[in-house]
Symmetry: C2
Subunit: 306 residues, 2 copies
């Protein structure tokens, strides 16, 4: 792919036939402010390191790695459980058990009935923390100005996409966010089975299941898996399931193997400029800037530490 071609491609198009070869170059126009130009101009100070104790590295059978960031401020008991499962190597040998198109990828032990129970939990795991944690009101909530179908407000807290009714704030079910599978009783999810959203945001799940984090690297290793053909997208045979080699806390990996990731600080001016540029696309490609942005199109950018 020639760089010439890349330079003439924006958004979802490929310029198949060199249509712009004879387009005039308007040298006097200042370059438009775009989401990419905002990030390029940002200083390192606008980026926030992700703590190693909040990062989980999931290694799949083919060696590919999926990295998750945990959100202890929003789901402290579930995150404590997840850290305990990871520390104990409890998931090592488990599998991707469900790939439901336009919905979720789910993993854990494929125990579907009482004949195949989950392995014994590590000491200290709470088998049934509350699905909803209400200790978020003290946090600084950076609200966006745009309308939302589901909540009075949407915005960001410490790098996380959040909705709010005023007194309460909660993590939303955006693409890549991780939640806790559970039974019909809302407080029955330990964190032993987790799912990530891989389709249009199923926002009706907000406040109905505990959201505990976000896939921050390697999402494509989950979303590119074959869809399950059983009910709700579950795989029906063990042969279909991608095995999990290990799920480890980054803080327990050797220094050299730890992912070094950063998110754009959602309290920064740069982030506000980036939101504005996303909502008002000035790139040459756009004919009609939307003038708005919904919360799941406003997930904070992530990068590797420079």
């Amino acid at each position: 792919m020639s760089s010439h071609w890349v330079s003439r491609c924006v958004g979802v198009v490929s310029l198949s036939m060199g249509l712009l070869v004879s387009a005039p170059v308007v040298a006097e126009s200042p370059a438009p402010v775009t989401p990419a130009s905002v990030l390029e101009a940002a200083g390192d100070g606008a980026w926030q390191d992700m703590a190693a104790e909040d990062l989980i590295v999931m290694t799949l059978a083919d060696g590919s790695k999926v990295v998750w960031q945990l959100a202890p401020a929003f789901a402290p008991e579930h995150v404590a459980n997840i850290r305990a499962f990871a520390r104990a190597g409890w998931w090592d040998g488990a599998a991707i058990i469900r790939v439901h198109d336009n919905y979720v990828v789910q993993w854990g032990w494929p125990s579907k009935n009482d004949d195949a129970p989950e392995p014994t939990y590590p000491a200290g795991v709470n088998p049934a923390p509350p699905a909803e944690y209400d200790g978020n009101a003290l946090k600084t909530f950076e609200a966006m100005e745009f309308k939302d179908a589901y909540a009075a407000y949407t915005g960001h807290i410490d790098g996380w996409p959040v909705a709010s009714d005023g007194p309460n704030q909660w993590l939303v079910h955006c693409y890549g966010m991780i939640g806790v599978a559970r039974g019909v009783n809302p407080d029955t999810g330990s964190g032993s089975q987790l799912y990530t959203v891989m389709g249009h945001a199923p926002r009706h799940l907000d406040r109905n299941l505990a959201v505990v984090g976000r896939v921050v690297s390697g999402m494509e290793h989950l979303t590119g898996l074959k869809r399950g053909t059983g009910a709700l997208g579950f795989y029906e045979t063990d042969a279909e399931r991608t095995k999990i080699v290990s799920i480890k806390l980054a803080s327990e990996l050797p220094e050299a193997e730890r992912p070094r990731l950063q998110y754009l600080s959602t309290g920064s001016i740069v982030f506000k400029d980036w939101l504005k540029a996303r909502a008002n696309r000035q790139d040459d490609f756009f004919l009609r800037p939307a003038g708005a942005l919904d919360i799941c199109n406003a997930l904070p950018p992530i990068r590797t530490q420079p």
Copy 2:
């Protein structure tokens, strides 16, 4: 998978450990109205056949079939082109050229520069119809009552998800919707390269690219493909590309091979009941019904003709 297990699964959960075995049965409660119960109770009259001349069957190298429904009322010139390409067998031997995670799958001829132009167009194809068609104001628009970040109104016209500013209505970029790839000039897409949305709805593309239809069957054959590793998710080598055996109009297939699909009529009472049940989930699993629904979570249900 035992039916016992299925009966205890709702939404995104698997009930791993038989947690509900001892739950009391409250026999007096009427069964809640759910999206599924609304569809089960619907008469055949609420379902509308998709016309064979609006259906396209794309056959991939492994024999899997992806069916699209065209939207001639919204993109008449692009749909005329697409029918001409299909009738001529113009795409037979083309490929899936791009799989961009949380964005789009794109297909056509992998001609990326002037050295590899597209094959000559069939007679009658307009190489550059307008990206936006403004003949929609006469249609019956069934507006939803919910807020939307991007448009004054959202709702449905004849089975299609639509946004509106009052005078104008347009198709929205929801999961599975099909659009026309183009160059930087908005009116440069012939329909020779198409994409379908496979992630959170990129609504900022609305009114910037022509939307021409929707994948109505076999979406999983596209979304489960390996993500492209080139810029914008394009495949970099021919070996990575899934070949397209053929793309044909259903009306040109033998009767026995035509897909027989129906959508729930968006002007029906049943559809309004279904939207209401989706927005106010009464299924046992839900702790807090959302009370709302965004347009891309309100895509009309599809079924095979009974």
